[in-house]
Symmetry: C2
């Protein structure tokens, strides 16, 4: 069994989309006093862990994600390395680390990854801690510097969503145009005209219409589409466009 590298960790900002909101997966950080049973810490953090000596950052992030979802073909992207001197500094943070079996005492650096999953079909669980999806518009108190990490992840996600077709990673394989529209609207915080959005999507040759419709909806069922990464890679063109 490889040893951990004590001063380096990876934190995963796992984004999920449920056709309605953008969510992020958090782990509960709970610590009770051994004698009195009184709650000492009760807040939430991102999912993360130290890296092992036989891993690189990518494989460490993939390991964490596989542990939670059982899957290993999930979209993952390194977005930033965090190094603030006081990034693990609050009394709660120190108390928590003191109670971990590894007994970390060094300054810890962390590399942030964000991950995109469809949270209508992928299910997530943690061996011994409580994990939960939170809408990004309604977050609890976060431990360590995880608020800063999450904000940076969101910023990078938005930038990437504007320039590359990564939104499909947040949808099931088959999706409707208005699910896709809702996704862009929620993440970018904008509204699009329905007709114009549809027109734009139908132009993209890598969004392929299926001969299949939604079922069990109590309104006119919509046509389903799939995204083809292969077609995208073949037809993409570069663009030069710094605005106004």
């Amino acid at each position: 069994m490889a040893k951990i590298i004590p001063n380096l960790s990876v934190d995963c900002v796992i984004f999920g989309f449920d056709f309605n909101q953008l969510n992020v997966l958090l782990v509960e950080r709970k610590l009770d006093d051994e004698k009195t049973g009184k709650s000492l810490i009760d807040d939430w953090t991102l999912t993360g862990y130290h890296i092992f000596e036989d891993e690189n950052f990518d494989t460490a992030a993939a390991r964490i994600l596989k542990g939670l979802s059982g899957l290993d073909n999930i979209y993952l992207e390194q977005f930033y390395a965090f190094s603030r001197l006081d990034r693990v500094n609050s009394p709660n943070d120190k108390l928590w680390l003191d109670h971990q079996s590894e007994g970390f005492s060094e300054r810890i650096f962390t590399v942030g990854y964000f991950s995109l999953i469809d949270n209508t079909t992928v299910s997530i669980s943690h061996n011994d801690r409580n994990v939960k999806w939170f809408p990004i518009t309604d977050l609890p108190e976060l431990g360590f510097d995880h608020k800063e990490i999450l904000e940076k992840a969101l910023e990078k996600l938005r930038a990437k969503l504007r320039s590359e077709p990564i939104g499909f990673e947040l949808l099931p394989e088959k999706f409707t145009v208005s699910q896709l529209q809702r996704l862009y609207e929620v993440i970018l915080g904008t509204k699009f005209d329905r007709r114009n959005f549809r027109k734009k999507v139908l132009q993209m040759k890598y969004v392929i219409p299926l001969d299949e419709k939604q079922k069990g909806v109590k309104h006119k069922p919509a046509q389903l589409f799939i995204f083809s990464k292969e077609v995208y890679e073949k037809t993409k063109t570069e663009r030069f466009d710094f605005s106004i």
Copy 2:
């Protein structure tokens, strides 16, 4: 004096532009056999160093850059953290590290920063090693995994140049439209129509014409412009545009 963190470094990919080409600053890595005087290593690397205990990644990168240029207001951006298991693996790399006074033996992780400077007015020097600008189209043999780091830096620079006005960082304060055009053409590897490029630039309210012309050129002197970051920040708009 703060101690270094032995398993973490920062490497700076310092880009410069001379109105003609995109260049990168490299340091010579030279080692001769103490007895025979025969050359054991003679190649080049990026500028980088370990980080100190009282620094974060940003301040470490700024320290390296200040050491080389004397300046501390230079454009710097973290772009990626590198962790390959064999990133310092060749016989030359090991030999070099063995001869450093610090005697590094651990696996070393590095965080990459790229920096943009105008190499017609900023001058660079190193205390005891040879530093030199190389056109990115004509690079020497690079040590460690620095070829990989440089390629990633270029990729991120190109992506950012397409979506944000960072090209001005590579030009002197006052510049002409065709210097700007040459810069975009060289970095993105494209050609633009002179009239259309000028039209586009003149629309940008943050590129401000001066009542001043080039001097000492043996052709019709061009009008000079400056870039205003303030105007840009105030007028920028977001765009949603993943290409065809």
